[in-house]
């Protein structure tokens, strides 16, 4: 090796240090192909009952309807903005249905399908995007945290919550009704955030019962995954000291199976797991975004062939698990849901202006109370002038 020719460093250093990433392509756990073929996996195979399959199908259809209605409501000026989940239904329903009641979820602002699984009224999701509140559901009662807008911040909250579970003695007892775990949702963009990396370190250090569920939808607004990572995201986990796995995020069966296994690992006290749900953001980042400025329609077309709902429908029909009557009934249910969302959204009233002062503190300081009273008197002065 000659030090006078810097260009010669490259190959030599690869020989010394090894390759920049593991050999071979990423392995994708899949149980249902895009064509609706049921395939088997040595580690993650599961038997699904007909009711379970129909249930997952129904969840995805209704979740897509919530998304479609919300997008339309934004276009009609009823919502300020909407973060679309189109294309990510399988990842979210699979992850959501793998939960037990005692588990806890920390979402981003796009987990509408998981919210559905946790029994959150979709109108409450609309309330946030309409601007009437910052999220009105009860995290403790639903096991579903409030949407977090700052990218990745909630992964640390999830880890801390999981550390709390360890101290509460609800990890590794062997009692399926007692043992609990946490799911931290985030995306490919968030994987670059310091908080997410710190969450990995804390979770690994304390072996906290948390599943890091990353929906890699390929895009962080306009930036492709290649801008965030030079290696498949799931491979990063090993560097932090816990397993990572990539699952077909458009396959609800595989997502369910892998999340369930990761959750069980956590509940059993075996620590964190990284699940990369490989999917695609079929819509825009939000309703204010214009993806035609930065991505090719070819890409979109190829992912359309991998649609998460179509493959389940093909499977169900081919195996005689649904008939026309079921599909018609589900369509009617979706229409009814759409109607409820439209009417409910338009009927939402703006909050009382003085409520902006509510809940800043548990114990309200006198100065803030005085500010509130002053503004109340100011508002009242307009009423008197009328």
């Amino acid at each position: 090796m000659s030090t006078t020719h810097p260009g010669a460093f490259g190959p030599d250093l690869v020989e010394v240090f090894g390759p920049q990433q593991a050999d071979g392509g990423p392995e994708l756990v899949q149980l249902l192909t895009p064509e609706g073929e049921r395939v088997h996996h040595p580690e993650f195979d599961l038997d699904f009952s007909a009711d379970q399959l129909r249930g997952l199908y129904r969840d995805m259809v209704l979740t897509r309807r919530i998304d479609t209605e919300a997008t339309a409501l934004q276009r009609h000026g009823e919502l300020g903005i909407w973060a679309q989940l189109l294309g990510q239904e399988a990842a979210q329903i699979g992850a959501g249905r793998a939960l037990r009641p005692q588990d806890f979820v920390f979402p981003t602002y796009r987990e509408h399908g998981v919210a559905w699984c946790r029994g959150i009224d979709p109108l409450q999701l609309l309330g946030l995007f309409r601007g009437v509140d910052h999220g009105s559901w009860d995290p403790q009662a639903t096991g579903f945290g409030l949407y977090t807008i700052v990218i990745g911040a909630q992964t640390l909250h999830a880890t801390g919550y999981a550390m709390g579970m360890q101290r509460d003695g609800v990890v590794g007892t062997g009692d399926p009704d007692r043992d609990a775990a946490v799911v931290a949702h985030f995306g490919d963009g968030a994987s670059s955030q310091g908080d997410v990396n710190e969450a990995f370190i804390f979770a690994a250090s304390y072996q906290a019962p948390v599943v890091f569920f990353c929906q890699n939808n390929q895009w962080a607004i306009s930036e492709p995954i290649e801008r965030q990572s030079r290696i498949p995201l799931y491979q990063r986990a090993l560097g932090f000291g816990f397993p990572g796995i990539r699952v077909d995020g458009n396959d609800v069966l595989a997502t369910y199976a892998v999340t369930q296994a990761a959750l069980q690992r956590a509940r059993d006290g075996q620590g964190p797991t990284f699940v990369e749900a490989y999917t695609y953001r079929m819509g825009a980042h939000t309703t204010t975004d214009d993806p035609t400025r930065y991505r090719l329609s070819d890409d979109l077309e190829s992912w359309k062939l991998k649609d998460p709902i179509a493959r389940v429908e093909v499977y169900l029909r081919r195996n005689g698990l649904v008939d026309d009557a079921f599909v018609a009934e589900l369509k009617a249910e979706a229409d009814e849901l759409g109607h409820t969302l439209r009417e409910g959204c338009k009927a939402m009233r703006d909050p009382d202006p003085l409520s902006l002062f509510d809940h800043v503190y548990a114990d309200v300081p006198p100065e803030l109370a005085a500010q509130r009273d002053g503004y109340a008197a100011y508002l009242a002065s307009f009423e008197e002038a009328r």
């Binding site: 640390l156 909250h157 709390g164 804390f202």
Partner: protein
């Protein structure tokens, strides 16, 4: 440093011992209280404030954390959501900034965001201020950045007895509290602690020396500076009142207004940069609320609007007795 008990049930303590004893008592009173931070376990913290606590309460309650401030505060948020009362230690003032996002966007806002459903009883302990001859980032006074943030409460202790009581009150508080400790006082002065005494409320300011000619307003490390200045002024026949603010957000203005209405003159003294510091807010409030009592503009003595300097010239940066008295002279001559 050993605490000596006397026959009346009082003992002589430093600020470090007062904080340590206060933390211990809070942990005894409530099993949900956890301590977390860098080196707080076996080592007892770099200033030994948590000395002996991991030994007595175990590793599950006194948690040595990875070296990541955002991680410390962010996981504390999750622990609070699970029903715990985390007390986190930021090792030095200048290291709080990696946690700044978690503090101002999450800790401060989760109670509000959740319409009161999710409490955030977190205490963020920060040793603050200079005067210890340290390298960069170890001598700062970031209080205004937190006092500016709705949802946080910010307090500063100035003496051993307050340290003992205020840390317990901050832990019992259902709101998040940024708890500032004047690090150069940790092992300096001693005071008599009576654990059976009834403490003052946490969010209350206090007149620590009565006077008639001008009011000195201070907190944390500058309370001692101002008391020394008042002592020196007294030998020249000037009577200065000294107020220890103790609470920076919310402010407890009543004792301040009462004092300034009597003296007509106010000088605010803090180590933080003067520009947009607590002194600016106090000057505005005093102007609004006792304009006709003021005989002179409210003056500020603080750190200059330069980054904290190298330690060999930090005494030039920090407000000292002479700079305080110089401001008093200017106020009296106005």
């Amino acid at each position: 440093m050993a605490a000596a008990h006397d026959t009346q049930g009082t003992r002589t303590i430093t600020l470090a011992k007062g904080l340590n004893a206060g933390l211990r008592r809070a942990m005894e009173d409530d099993p949900k209280v956890l301590l977390m931070g860098e080196d707080v376990g076996k080592l007892g913290g770099v200033f030994r404030i948590t000395d002996g606590l991991q030994k007595d309460f175990g590793e599950d309650r006194v948690i040595d954390s990875p070296l990541a401030e955002s991680g410390i505060v962010g996981t504390a948020v999750g622990l609070a959501m699970r029903g715990y009362r985390p007390v986190v230690e930021i090792q030095f003032d200048g290291f709080v900034y990696p946690a700044y996002d978690q503090i101002v966007c999450q800790v401060a806002k989760i109670h509000y965001r959740s319409r009161g459903r999710v409490p955030m009883p977190i205490v963020i302990r920060i040793p603050f201020g200079g005067g210890i001859g340290a390298v960069e980032h170890h001598s700062e006074s970031p209080e205004a950045q937190f006092a500016h943030t709705p949802g946080l409460k910010v307090v500063a202790c100035s003496n051993p007895v307050d340290g003992y009581w205020m840390i317990q009150q901050a832990i019992a508080c259902d709101d998040p509290v940024v708890f500032l400790e004047p690090k150069r006082q940790y092992h300096a002065d001693k005071a008599e602690l009576d654990e059976a005494a009834r403490p003052e409320p946490l969010f209350a300011s206090r007149v620590v020396r009565a006077g008639t000619d001008a009011t000195l307003i201070a907190y944390g490390p500058t309370v001692k500076t101002c008391l020394a200045a008042a002592q020196a002024a007294a030998t020249e026949g000037r009577s200065l009142e000294v107020i220890d603010l103790r609470t920076l957000s919310p402010l407890d203005l009543a004792p301040v207004l009462e004092s300034v209405r009597r003296t007509g003159r106010a000088v605010v003294v803090h180590e933080a940069h003067v520009n947009l510091g607590l002194g600016a807010e106090l000057a505005a409030r005093l102007t609004e609320q006792c304009f006709y009592s003021l005989e002179a503009p409210v003056l500020r003595v603080g750190g200059f609007d330069a980054p904290y300097p190298a330690s060999r010239i930090e005494e030039d940066f920090l407000p000292d007795l002479d700079r305080v008295l110089d401001a008093v002279d200017r106020s009296l001559e106005f």
